[in-house]
């Protein structure tokens, strides 16, 4: 089963995703795929908080900032993957080595679809960045446009699509595992 979780920041997306991944794994192997590449002290703190949050849940952590399909392990077909987050993955693929990589969207789409196809279960987390009254610069707008395209693809192929709003779950497609 594949679940896509999207919402604003600090709304409980990661907690829900962890809970669902453990449920879907049913005691089998489950991987936490962290896509954030720590850039500063603030990032390290955020990562520490996330590591602490999932202590005792039985996740094996894989750190993959680019080329997401590399998370597919030997036992992928019987395993559950929690990918947190698409937002960071796309940023890493798009902005690196002081360039804006035009192939980022295609690589992310291909990689994520590959993970969905070759794993038993997948829970994918992303951020909703589309409701601001701001004229963004061209680069930010390019990023938002690509992120939205990824979201539409994921929402289309996943069994369940959930939006988190102030720690409340809104189901847009399918249902959550019982």
């Amino acid at each position: 089963m594949n679940i896509f979780i999207c919402g604003g920041c600090k709304n409980g997306k990661s907690s829900l995703a962890q809970e669902l991944a453990v449920k879907l794994a049913q005691g089998e192997k489950h991987y936490y795929v962290a896509t954030m590449i720590a850039g500063d002290e603030e990032d390290h703190l955020r990562i520490k908080r996330h590591v602490k949050d999932r202590e005792g849940m039985g996740f094996e952590t894989l750190e993959i900032g680019r080329g997401i399909a590399a998370c597919l392990t030997e036992d992928a077909a019987e395993s559950t993957f929690l990918i947190d987050s698409v937002t960071a993955l796309l940023a890493n693929e798009m902005f690196h080595d002081n360039i804006t990589d035009a192939g980022a969207l295609e690589r992310c789409t291909k990689g994520l679809l590959q993970v969905l196809e070759h794993s038993e279960n997948c829970v994918i987390v992303s951020d909703y960045l589309f409701a601001d009254a701001v004229r963004f610069d061209a680069l930010t707008e390019q990023y938002r446009c690509a992120l939205a395209a990824l979201h539409r693809t994921l929402a289309n192929v996943c069994d369940t699509v959930a939006e988190l709003c102030a720690d409340t779950v809104v189901i847009h497609k399918g249902e959550l595992p019982q």
Binding site: C6, F130, D132, A133, C145, A155
Partner: protein, 125 residues
């Protein structure tokens, strides 16, 4: 009138074209340069019309109300720019609030209201 709202790039226009069998020519896209053509079957990007109104000191809701007969059987699409962070600039704050007010008015007038999220529609009314 049916109203379609949702964040940027969420698939509002594609949904409208699919649901109401509209061609590209039947969809008018607003700009920040003036008032839309209210006679078309579908007006998209109403937030840009609101931006024009804010910049030129006009009342967006009043203008829309004045053209009620022209759009009462149309499909209207607006970006829900009023859900994000309160902007720093006064003009953007006014833009955000006026767009919120316009959508509240239009949702009241609408027969059906849809919200698009990641390409998926949710019927609100």
């Amino acid at each position: 009138m049916d109203l379609i709202i949702g964040g940027a790039f969420q698939g509002k226009r594609d949904f409208a074209k699919r649901k109401y069998h509209l061609t590209n020519e039947q969809v008018f896209t607003c700009t920040a340069q003036g008032e839309p053509d209210f006679s078309v079957p579908c007006i998209a990007g109403l937030e840009e019309f609101v931006f024009y109104c804010v910049e030129s000191g006009k009342d967006a809701v009043a203008i829309i109300k004045a053209h009620h007969a022209a759009w009462e059987n149309s499909v209207l699409i607006c970006n829900d720019i009023f859900c994000g962070v309160v902007p720093m600039e006064a003009e953007n704050r006014a833009w955000r609030e006026e767009t919120g007010r316009l959508c509240a008015y239009l949702a009241g007038e609408a027969k059906e209201v849809y919200r698009l999220f990641c390409g998926l529609e949710q019927r609100l009314k």
